[in-house]
Symmetry: C2
Subunit: 222 residues, 2 copies
C-alpha cells in the first residue's frame, strides 16, 4: 500500500580507550555512503530476531564479535532525510563494553563526518551516558569485571568530564549499594593494596535507581 519503510537497528558501542570515551565504527562496504564510517547496524531479520533488542545483540555478535554486558534502547531516528533511498527508521541502541575487546575505536570528541545521521545518534548516546552516570553505576560497564574504586572514579571523571572528590564518590557508590566486594587484594606497585569490587548481579529492571526516595526512608538494605 505504502512504499516500504527501511527499518534498521544501529548500535552505539562505547568503551574507554586511552582515557577517552570511544565508539566503534565500521567502514561501509556498500552504498549508500560506501566507504564512509558508520555505526555497526543492519536490517532487522524478521525470521531470526524476536524483537529489536535481539537484532541489536545479533548485529554486535556478527559485526563485532561481542556480547556487551550492557545494552539499552536509545531512541529511534526516523524520517525521509536521513537515507537517500527513502523514508527510514533506525532503532538506535547503546552498549557499553570493557576496553579489552578488539575493534576500531574512534574517540567521541574527534568525530569526522559519518554516514547517515550517525553523528547525531552518537551525540545522543553520549548525553544519555552522562546523564545516567549521575545516579547509576553505568560507567562500571566500561571497566573489566573486577575493578578498584579508584579505577571506577577515574572512569566517572572521564565520562562526566570533571574531577570528583574521593570521599564523596565512595560514599555515593556505597549507598547506591550496587557493588560487591571481592575478597582478595591487588597491588599496582609500591602502595597500599586496593579492595576489588564487581557489579552485583541484579535483575535489570532498567528503572530502579532514578526514583528519589523520601527522606525518612533510609536505605535499610544492609
Amino acid at each position: 500500500m505504502y512504499p516500504p519503510i527501511i527499518v534498521t537497528v544501529d548500535v552505539v558501542l562505547m568503551t574507554l580507550c586511552l582515557d577517552a570515551l570511544c565508539v566503534a565504527l565500521l567502514r561501509r562496504p556498500n552504498d549508500p555512503f560506501a566507504g564512509e564510517l558508520a555505526l555497526p547496524g543492519g536490517y532487522v531479520h524478521a525470521q531470526e530476531d524476536g524483537d529489536a533488542e535481539d537484532a541489536a545483540y545479533r548485529i554486535l555478535r556478527e559485526k563485532m564479535g561481542i556480547k556487551p554486558p550492557y545494552l539499552e534502547q536509545l531512541a529511534t531516528f526516523a524520517g525521509d532525510r536521513r537515507d537517500p533511498r527513502g523514508w527510514s527508521a533506525s532503532i538506535a541502541y547503546f552498549a557499553l563494553v570493557s576496553p579489552t575487546t578488539e575493534a576500531t575505536w574512534q574517540p567521541v570528541s574527534e568525530l569526522t563526518k559519518l554516514a547517515f545521521d550517525h553523528a547525531a545518534i552518537i551525540q545522543a548516546a553520549v548525553e544519555r551516558l552522562r546523564n545516567k552516570s549521575a545516579y547509576s553505576v553505568l560507567p562500571a560497564y566500561l571497566l573489566p569485571q573486577t575493578f578498584t574504586l579508584a579505577e571506577l572514579q577515574k572512569i566517572y571523571e572521564q565520562v562526566l568530564g570533571s574531577p570528583l572528590d574521593k570521599s564523596s564518590f565512595r560514599r555515593k557508590i556505597k549507598e547506591l549499594d550496587l557493588l560487591d566486594q571481592v575478597t582478595g587484594s591487588f597491588q599496582v606497585g609500591n602502595q597500599r593494596p586496593a579492595q576489588i569490587y564487581r557489579l552485583k548481579k541484579m535483575v535489570t529492571f532498567d528503572r530502579t535507581l532514578s526514583q528519589s526516595a523520601p527522606r525518612k526512608a533510609a536505605r535499610s538494605g544492609q
Copy 2:
C-alpha cells in the same frame, strides 16, 4: 528482500481528569483487535510526514483534533509477537494536554485489556512522566496555560502519588526558573487571591534540566 516490517506511530496522550491521570484511547474499527481499545496511532505516511514526530502530530490532529503543547518520543516497541500480522515496530510518543480537550479518557489506574502491547506502552509513559516530574515542570502541561502554584502542586502530587510540602515545592519551582508571573490575580472564593503563572517560552532542547550542577555554580542564567 525481506518481508516488509509494519511501522506505526502510537501516541500516549495524557491529561488529568477528575484528579486522576488519564490516557486517550480509541476503539479500533478494523482488525487486528477490531473493537478493542487502543492508543491513537497509525502508519507513517512517507509522503506527508518528514519524520516520526511529524507523524505523531498528524495522528493527533487527525484522530484527536489536538495539537499538544508537549510531545516527546518515548521508545520503540518492536518484535514479532505484538502484532498478529507479523514483525512490527511501533514508535511510541507521549504527549501532555490540558484537560479541556474533548476525548474519551481512561484513568491509567484502571486499564482493562488493550490492543497489541499498548498497556505496556502506557506503563512506560507513566513511568517516564513520574521520573521527569522529579526535576522538571512537565506536569504543568497538564494544566491550562495559566495556573496558580497551588494548582501546580496538586498536579505534581497526583502525578507523583505523594503529598508535597508547600514551602519546599515553591522553593524548588522557583529555582527551576521556568515559570513567568502573570500580572493579575485570581480568586477562587473567600480567600486571599493567588498569583498566576505560565510556562516560560523556551527553546525545548529537551535535555536542559537533568544535569546536576556543581555546588558552587549557582544557576546564574537570569
